[in-house]
Amino acid sequence: MATKTIRVDSLARVEGEGALSLRISGGRVESAELRIVEPPRFFEAFLRGRDYRETPDIVARICGICPAAYQMSAVHAIENAFGARVEGPLRALRRLLYCGEWIESHALHVVMLHAPDYLGFPDAVSLAHKYPDRVRDGLALKKAGNAIMRLLGGREVHPVNVCPGGFYRVPDRAELVPLARELEEACELAAGLVRWVAAFPFPEFERDYEFVALRHPGEYPFNEGRLVSNRGLDIDISDYESEFEERQVPHSTALHSMLKRRGSYLTGPLARYALNFDRLPPAVQALAEEAGLGPVCRNPFKSIVVRALEIAFACEEALRIVSEYAPPNASTVPVAPRAATGFGCTEAPRGICWHRYDFEADGAIEAARIVPPTAQNQPSIEADLAEVASQLLNEPDETIRDRCEQMIRNYDPCISCATHFLKLSIER
């Protein structure tokens, strides 16, 4: 029987450069590969010898879409190594910054990059001709997220205010007042966004994922928690390397992150939601119910609804933090370097972002390891691709290609982040 290969050489509406290759032979999908053509930038190499205080500024540059996630994982790892603990209003401000990043990153993806797939448009600009109010509302939401980033971080991309121990400067109450007004509006817009995307036509598709996310005793997770899964994983973040590994698989062009005992897993909005539904505020749970979503969603095409729900959560959480805020006495807690290893793991918009740093006594970095969310999701993306393509074998190439591209965008893959992706050439 004929063998055919469907290729998409340049994936659109993903952050970074990726390509897709699908090999169909003998009436079945032989391989599905998400090729990463992003050139390596060697962050873990040039971090060696750098001072701990520079780390948040440097690792931010791994990703322009979610710089705060890298900053948060880094400062938590530093504080973990040096025995410092950030509590109270400083901790709340970090959560607020993370709310800002989730809102801007999720709104970008939901409205600008992902919604066009469901409604048959190539991009948000053409979508805006048919749905001008929806696109304008989406941009307003994104702007609200960026307003938080700008106030707390100084700017939207690569904020400058995060440091080990807290912030360089903390806002006073009066500075947060305009945010409250913008966030009240954003809460309304987010609820509208959930209702809009929940009515999109979704392909019938489910997979039995192992979801991996942080879980905190009382909060929907941003900065802290244990690493848990729906198949019994429940570990401290410092034990990550004993449970997870990066494997080189022969059919692939990238290092794949796997659970040592069980293989591929899923991190990101679907996983966070499934493992932490009970930590969402009642209003967001009610919104989920209205959107027809149970406490667990295994259809990756519905990740757009979960992202919209997470925007609604982040808007509400940000508003709560802003209204309860009383400035701390100092903008940082003391952080004194020592020879130690520290771990940080936080929930980037796309999933867990895990960092480990070994420090010398003067605070210089001896070794760094950074595992970004998209690298972890890659095996899962490929398994989804094989599955979705096998359901469409009798369809024209065009249909298979479009559906596969959409499947990849379900993950909001941020390929620039993926410091671990590598290009591999194989002779056959």
Binding site: S10, A12, R13, E15, E17, E38, P39, P40, R41, F42, F43, E44, A45, F46, R48, D51, E54, D57, I58, R61, C63, G64, I65, P67, E104, L108, M112, L113, P122, D123, A124, V125, A128, V135, R136, L139, A140, K142, K143, N146, G154, R155, E156, V157, H158, V160, N161, Y168, R169, Q248, L255, S331, C414, S416, T419, H420, L422, K423, L424, S425
Partner: protein, 258 residues
């Protein structure tokens, strides 16, 4: 305007974090108006409609780090009437140019289990090292108002109004008290303006993410840093970040050792 008569815009990515092209999408209030004024013909991060060239204006993000990209940028230049680099990677090689001061094979081995599969150049270089560039917009990341100014200027055929003085002027305009006179080492005096002097307003020294200003007095600045107690290692590290390969910063960094 009809698509046929509007200028055609393309956005390209090389080695980078995507933050500068995201800045275009961060123009929440201006984006739809911009999309009316220009025809966005090629912008893969935002649209799956990827049209063939030629293009009236190409915005190029990222640095050249692979043999394939060194070829690709020539093709981009051939297709583009005007080519503007956006950000520190495209303009100075970016943070990934730290490999230029090290052994790239050692870097590869430090990150990857099978370094023999990595296809990379020994250096990360600015776009201008490979093809002629019509304008270089600085910053890590770029400033969105400056980006809109540059696009506007090229559309109407005038020079962009982007000043090349130091961050110090922006601190004065913002009313920020100099952090250096308060004892904080700051790269503001030698750094190109454009960010709006954010860092000093947040009570920290400028860390030079817009690269060298037009006439930086590097020696005077590093002497001042020494008198504020900065070690040679700290000075070298400060100069070797997002614009490490910009000539003024890289030359001065060589003079300050561990």
């Amino acid at each position: 305007m009809a698509p046929a008569t509007r200028p055609r815009l393309a956005v390209w990515k090389f080695a980078s974090c995507d933050g500068c092209q995201l800045t275009l999408l961060d123009c929440e209030d201006e984006l739809l108006a911009l999309a009316d004024a220009v025809h966005i013909a090629y912008f893969p991060e935002a649209s799956s409609a990827m049209e063939e060239g030629p293009y009236d204006l190409s915005l190029v993000e990222g640095s050249i780090t692979t043999p394939a990209d060194a070829e690709r940028i020539r093709e981009v230049r051939r297709q583009s009437r005007r080519l503007v680099t956006i950000g520190a990677c495209a303009t100075a090689g970016g943070i990934q140019a730290l490999r230029n001061f090290a052994d790239v094979n050692e870097f590869t081995a430090a990150v990857y289990a099978s370094p023999q599969y990595i296809e990379t150049l020994a250096t990360s270089t600015a776009i201008s090292a490979h093809v002629p560039v019509d304008f270089e917009l600085r910053g890590c990341p770029i400033n969105k108002m400056q980006l809109l100014e540059v696009i506007t200027a090229f559309l109407v055929g005038r020079k962009p109004s982007i000043t090349a003085h130091s961050v110090c002027i922006e601190c004065k305009r913002r009313g920020t008290v100099c952090v250096m006179v308060q004892g904080l080492p700051c790269l503001g005096p030698v750094t190109h303006a454009g960010c709006g002097a954010i860092c000093p307003a947040y009570r920290r020294g400028c860390y030079g993410c817009y690269g060298p200003m037009e006439t930086p007095n590097m020696r005077a600045l590093t002497q001042e840093w020494r008198s504020l107690g900065a070690s040679p290692r700290e000075i070298r590290l400060a100069l070797r970040t997002f614009n490490a390969a910009a000539e003024a910063f890289s030359k001065e960094s060589e003079l300050h050792g561990d």
